[in-house]
Assembly symmetry: D2
C-alpha cells in the first residue's frame, strides 16, 4: 500500500514521539522533508532549526529485536536552491590551524534540473566554475532508541540519526535495529550534494520529496545501521572518535559475514581483510560516522532466512 503523507509537525530529536502515521510492514510512504534549517519547499520556515524530522511513522507489528528495512525508492529536491556553510570545521583541521574564513554567512547553491547540476549563487571570482552534480542523499534518519530516550537530530548512534553519509541515496536499502514497538521511523535533512566528511558542517541543505518502503524483518539481531546498494553491503559505526566508529563498523561487518554468508570466522576474517573498503561518512557531528563496505561481487550467496535474503 502507498501512503501519501503531508507532515505538519517536525521533531528535533528522534524518540518515542506520538506517531504521525501508522502503516503496515511493506507499505510505501510518499512524503516530504524540510531542510536542516526548517524551511520547506516554498522556502517558508515551518520548524525549529537543526535537521527537523518528518514522522515518526509507526509500523504495525514491529517489535524490539526486529530489524526495520528502509528502502529509499526516490529522494529528490523539491525546490531549486539549497544553503551551505563557508568554513571548514575547526575539528578537522590541525589544532590552532586558522581556516581564515571571517564571513560565516551561509550561501546558496542554485539547482539546474535540466543539467542536473548545482552552482553557487553569486560566486567569488575563484569559484565561478564550481559545479557539482545533483546527487541527493538523506543526512538524518532512523528509529526511536531504547530506554525512553529522545536523541538530538544533531547526532547519531545505533538507532541511526544524523549520519550525514553521502551513500544514503535513492536505491539504497538501510537497516536499523528496532528498539520500541512500531519502530517509529523518522526522516529529514536532505542534501542535494555532499562530499566525504561533511567538513563544512553542511552539504547543500535542501527540502526534498521522499518515497520509501518500510519492511519489518523479524527476529534478527543487528547492533548498528547497515545498508546495501547495487554493488555493496555496508555497515555504519556512529560515535567519536573516528577510530571507534571504524571499530563498530568493522565488527558489525564481520558479524554480518558470518551470520548471512555461511563463512566460518577464520574465512570471514580473510574475506573482510582482503576486500574491505571504508568511507568517511561525517567528521563534523557530535558522533562521527565510518562506513565499512564490501563488494557484493566477491561474496558467496546469502543464506536463506538471512537479513540480506529477506530484503533483496
Amino acid at each position: 500500500m502507498i501512503h501519501s503523507f503531508e507532515p505538519d509537525k517536525y521533531y528535533l530529536s528522534i524518540g518515542s514521539h506520538p506517531p504521525a502515521l501508522k502503516i503496515n510492514s511493506g507499505d510505501t510512504v510518499n512524503t516530504n522533508t524540510v531542510d536542516a534549517g526548517g524551511f520547506d519547499k516554498k522556502g517558508i520556515l515551518v520548524s525549529g532549526r537543526g535537521n527537523p524530522q518528518t514522522g515518526p511513522i509507526y509500523v504495525e507489528g514491529a517489535c524490539p529485536g526486529d530489524v526495520l528495512a528502509v528502502r529509499l525508492n526516490n529522494i529528490w529536491p523539491n525546490r531549486g536552491h539549497g544553503f551551505c556553510r563557508p568554513k571548514i570545521a575547526s575539528n578537522v583541521l590541525e589544532p590552532g590551524h586558522d581556516s581564515r574564513v571571517t564571513d560565516l554567512d551561509t550561501f546558496d547553491f542554485l539547482l539546474d534540473f535540466d543539467s542536473n547540476t548545482a552552482r553557487i549563487e553569486n560566486p567569488s571570482e575563484g569559484l565561478t566554475d564550481l559545479s557539482v552534480p545533483i546527487r541527493p542523499m538523506i543526512g538524518c534518519f532512523g528509529v526511536a532508541p531504547d530506554r525512553g530516550q529522545a536523541i538530538s537530530t544533531a547526532t547519531s548512534g545505533p538507532h541511526g540519526g544524523n549520519m550525514d553519509y553521502r551513500g544514503f541515496e535513492s536505491g539504497v536499502t538501510a537497516y536499523f535495529p528496532i528498539f520500541v514497538d512500531g519502530a517509529l521511523f523518522h526522516i529529514g535533512d536532505g542534501h542535494a550534494w555532499q562530499s566525504d566528511g561533511e567538513i563544512l558542517g553542511t552539504g547543500i541543505e535542501i527540502s526534498m520529496d521522499v518515497s520509501f518502503t518500510l519492511t519489518v524483518i523479524p527476529k534478527i539481531e543487528i547492533f548498528w545501521p547497515r545498508g546495501q546498494n547495487e554493488d555493496f553491503i555496508f555497515t555504519a559505526g556512529n560515535v567519536r572518535p573516528l577510530d571507534e566508529a571504524l571499530q563498530h563498523s568493522t565488527s558489525e561487518m564481520l558479524r554480518w559475514l558470518v551470520n548471512d554468508y555461511a563463512l566460518s570466522w577464520p574465512d570471514a576474517n580473510i574475506m573482510l581483510g582482503t576486500y574491505v573498503q571504508y568511507d568517511v561518512g561525517n567528521v563534523f557531528d557530535p558522533a562521527y560516522t565510518m562506513i565499512c563496505k564490501i563488494p557484493k561481487s566477491v561474496l558467496p550467496s546469502a543464506s536463506p532466512g538471512s537479513l540480506i535474503s529477506q530484503s533483496a
Copy 2:
C-alpha cells in the same frame, strides 16, 4: 641518467644511514626490494624482518627545506608468491570482540601473471573462489627525518615511512619534505594487493622490482607527504588517532590549494569542503594513515613555480 642498483644491505629504520648510492636530481633508479619478512625474489632470507628498506639513496643538491619528488615508474612483484596474515587486528574491532582466529600462521597467495590475479594457496572450502587482481603498491618509503632520528619501518610520520596506502602504486608521484642533506631516500615493503586499512596487518607481502625517478624541488615548504596520480592530488597524515591523521591531511590539502592554485583562503575552504574525498590508508601500524584527496578535474590551473607545476 638511469642507475641499476643491487642492494646488499637493508635497514629496519629510516634514518641517516650511510648512503648506498648517490645520484643526481632527475635520475632514475632501477632496483629491487625484499618482502616485509626479509625474503628476496628467490625466497631467500637476506635481512631481519619488519619492512627492510633498500637504500638510502643520496640525491646531490637536496637540502633541508626542499621537497623530494618520487615518481614510481614501475613497481612489480619479482616472484610468484606472497604471504598474508589470517586475523583482523584487535585494534580495528570493538574492544573485547574476539575475531575467533586461532591459527595465526601466515598463508600464501599465488600470483598468476597471465591473468594478473592472485589466489590463496590451499584455500579453505569457503575461500576457494577468492581471487584478487595483482595491483602492486609500496607499503613503506620515505626520507631520513630530522634531529638525527632513525624511525622504525613499522611506523610513519612527516618523513613518510610505513603508510601502507594502496594508492602508492605505479604512475604515482609522491612528495616528501627533505630534512637532511641528500634527502636519503628509502624504499621497501611491496604488496601485490592490499585493501583499505591493512586490517590484517599485511597486504600480499612480496618482493618487487622497482623503478623510480627522484627529483629535488627546491625551497617549497610542505609538512606531510603529498602525492598525485592521473586523477587526484592527495595528502597523507600519519599519526594516531585516525582523527588526528585526518586533521593533518586536511590542513595540508588546504595549504596546498592556497599555495599552488591561487585560491583565496575562503575559496579554498569551499573548494575543499565541496569536493574532498578521504581514503583510509592503514589502521594497523603504530601511526595510522588518512589520505585527503581532491579530483584534478575540479581544480583551476596550478600556479607557475608551484610544487605541482614543477613535477607534472
Copy 3:
C-alpha cells in the same frame, strides 16, 4: 524550605519527564535513590536497571540560560551491602589484552558503618585483606537537556548525567547549565566507593539517602558541568575520546577564570597552565569524563556577581 520526598517512579533517561516535585530556588530536598540495578534500601527491585533516577524536580523560576547549583549536603548509603563487577573493561586494556576473568557474576561488598569501611563478602584468598573506606559519591545526576531530548542514564554530556566521578561527594556544589523551564533535576546511582575511571564498570553500587539544596543562579552562561569543594574549583568534560573530554574541561576552566576572577586572557593561560590538575572521572561509560581543577588557594578573589560569588 526542606522537602521530604519519597520517590515512587524512576527514569532511565534524563529528560523532560513530568515533574515529581516542585520546589523553590534555595529549597532543600531530602530523598533517596535506588542502586544502579534498581534495588532499594530493602534490596527490593523497584525499577528497571541502569542507573534509575529519582526525580525530576522542577525548580520554580529556573529558565534556559540560568545555572542550577546543586549542593550535596549529605549522601549516605541506606543499606549495608553494595554490588560490584569483577572484570576490568576491555576498552581500558590494550586491544586484544584478555583480562582473564571468566566468572562475570557481580559480587557484594559489605559495609561496616562502625569502622566506615567495606569488605568483599566471601572474598577469594588473595583478597581477604581488601578493605576500602566508605566514601559515598553520586554517579549520575543532572538536568533535562535541550531539543526535547531524553538522554540515557548510561551516558553523560553538558547536562551532567552518568559522569561517575568520585569527587561528587557530600559537601560539593555542582553547577549545571539549565536548558528547560524548571531545570528538571534528576539524581541516582550512588557508590559507597569508587576509584578513578570506574574501570570495572561499577563502584560499590548502593542505594542512598540523599539531601541536596537546589539554587538557581540567573543569567550566567556555562557550557559544561562545574563544581567546587573546600579546596578546588573544577569543571567536567563528558564525551569520548578522553582527549576531547580534556579539551572541554580545560576550555571551560579557562573561561571560568576569565569570567569570575578578573584575570586577563594571558594571565588566565599562565595561571591555569601553572596549577592545573586533572582527575579521570570515568573511562567506562559511552561518554568519558575528565575533570580539570585548580586549587582555590592560588586564585584571586572571585568577582562580585560571578557564579562562584553567588554560591559560596
Copy 4:
C-alpha cells in the same frame, strides 16, 4: 662506585649513540643536564634546542630482555632562573577555542632557594602573587630503542623519553625495558616545577645537577616504563591518543600485579579496579603520557625474585 661525569656533547634523539661513559650495574653517576633550550647552569648555550640529553651511559652487562632501574637520588636546579611558555597549547582546548595570547615570548621564573619557591620575573599585575614551590622533576629520560632507532627527545615511547610527568622526582626509581647492549641511558629536560599535563608546553625549564644510580635487573619482561616512590607503584603509557596511553598503562599494571604480587588474574582485576589512580603526565608532546598507579599500602608483599623485590 660513584662517577662524576661532566658532559660535553648532547643529543636531540635517544638512540644508539656512542657511549659517553661506561659504568657497572649498581654504580651512581653525578652529572648535570642543560635546559630544554640547550642552556647550561651559567646560561650559556651549549647545545641545539629541544630537550638535549646528557649521555648515553653504557651499563656493563645490560642486555635486551633485562630491565634498567634508575634511582633518582637527587635532582636539583643548578641556577636561579627557568623559562616558561605563556600560551595553553591548542590541542588541549576545544577546536577553534582561541586562548587569546598574542605575545608568545617565553618568560622567566626566578627561584628563591631559601624559601624553595619560584616567582615570575616582572609579572603582570594579575600574577604578582603567583608563587610555586620548587619541586624538581626530569622531563625526558630513557634508554636506546630497538631496530637501530634514534627517537626524537620531543616524544616518548616504550623506551621512555619525553614523558614530562611531574612524578619523576628525587627519590623515585624508574624502570625501563632494555633494547640494546649496555642499555644506553640518556637524561635531560629538568623542570623546577610542572603541573599536570604540561599544557603550556613547558614546566619551569631549567638546568640541573642530577645524581642517579643505574642497576640492571636481569631477565624480566616489561613493556612500558614503570616506577615506584614511597607510596605508589606506577606505570607509564606513552602514545597518542590519551585513551590509548591509558590502555597501555592499565594493561602494564595488571601484568605487574599478576607477576610480582602473586595475585590471580581475577584477583588482580578487582584489586586494580578498586584502587587504581590515574595521573595525566603530559598532553602536549607528540606522545601523551598517562600514569596508572596503585598505593603500596593496599598491595600484598612482592614475590621473591620479582622486579619490585630486586629494587626496593
